[in-house]
Symmetry: C2
Subunit: 183 residues, 2 copies
Amino acid sequence: MAGMTINFVHFVLGLLADRSMSGYDIRCFLKSLGWLVGNPSFGAIYPALHALLKDDLVSVETVSESDKRIRKIYTITDAGRQALADWVTQPVKPGSNVKSFVMQLILIGNLSPQGLTTHLEQRRQVVVDHRAALEQLAQDLGQGVNRGQRLAVEYGLTTANAELVWLDEMLAQVSTELDADRI
Amino acid sequence: MAGMTINFVHFVLGLLADRSMSGYDIRCFLKSLGWLVGNPSFGAIYPALHALLKDDLVSVETVSESDKRIRKIYTITDAGRQALADWVTQPVKPGSNVKSFVMQLILIGNLSPQGLTTHLEQRRQVVVDHRAALEQLAQDLGQGVNRGQRLAVEYGLTTANAELVWLDEMLAQVSTELDADRI
DNA sequence: ACGCACATGTAATCAGTTACATGATTCT
DNA sequence: AGAATCATGTAACTGATTACATGTGCGT
């Protein structure tokens, strides 16, 4: 199974590993992340929760605070934690899009400090390749009339460079932290 | 129709407005843009082309260079250019994701220098809001144990700030260009 | 009384990927 | 001879959005 990509269901499980939540809570949290992980609707969240429940990776507790208003709090099970640990240690296909990078970043950041380095390095490679492709394209375009293409390429180069700076910072930070742990 | 978002079909039409291409050519070009607009497959490109053809927004010419190898070159029609002009002048819903921003950037950059300012300003607003949300979240998280969330937020803040710098640069550049045109 | 935020869920639909099917040309 | 690239297309599937359906609690 070399090269599996985590999906939304895994991600939801990862969030529940951090703290028990209801579907509504998950929605709120994801909204607060802005467009980093998109803006998943209830039509995506509830089915994900039901799927996890079916596989016994989470358990539900129906809470009726005060009177009649029901909330369903989902809590990760031992099997769920095991499944998460398995996914996180598996090699992940360097998914090209920001969304899956961030989802994995959250999962791995919480669960596996060692895996973090690999994940960041993998992302680094993806961004470096992307930047190289854009630089090539910039040359090919030359100073033609297609302003749109040139703007898009410049946009891509700017964001790619900013991301690389951040990635290098984080990689340095993580490596010093791991060194500290070793002592 | 306030708030329509351009889709992939519109985008393909926009590319054909720049130069006539085959489906394969479009694929190659989009590939060279890396993950800026995703990595659309032929299963997306050819149906898009067929849809445009059905609406007479493009025309085909089957070219048999050398011998037997066929290529279908798609060329935008007058109706197609009209449709594009309509879409571009319509107010676009500030789509949250990079993909639709870049697609619109290419279209608008090529077709409407005036619309560019609006598009960039709209994007600016989206990014500013996004950054504000992330800053709020950073405060709420505090220095808890959830390293993943904190990393994601920092990542989002870094990329958002880089994007804002670029947007401001571009806005300044576009405005001086428009001034130059006015004289 | 009315509307808004809270809260859960399902069904229709849609956009796009994956996988398949086909065949020519060029490189090694 | 075989692989890689060029080149077009369709059908099944998937992941997610949109729209719908339902109901409570709180503020004005």
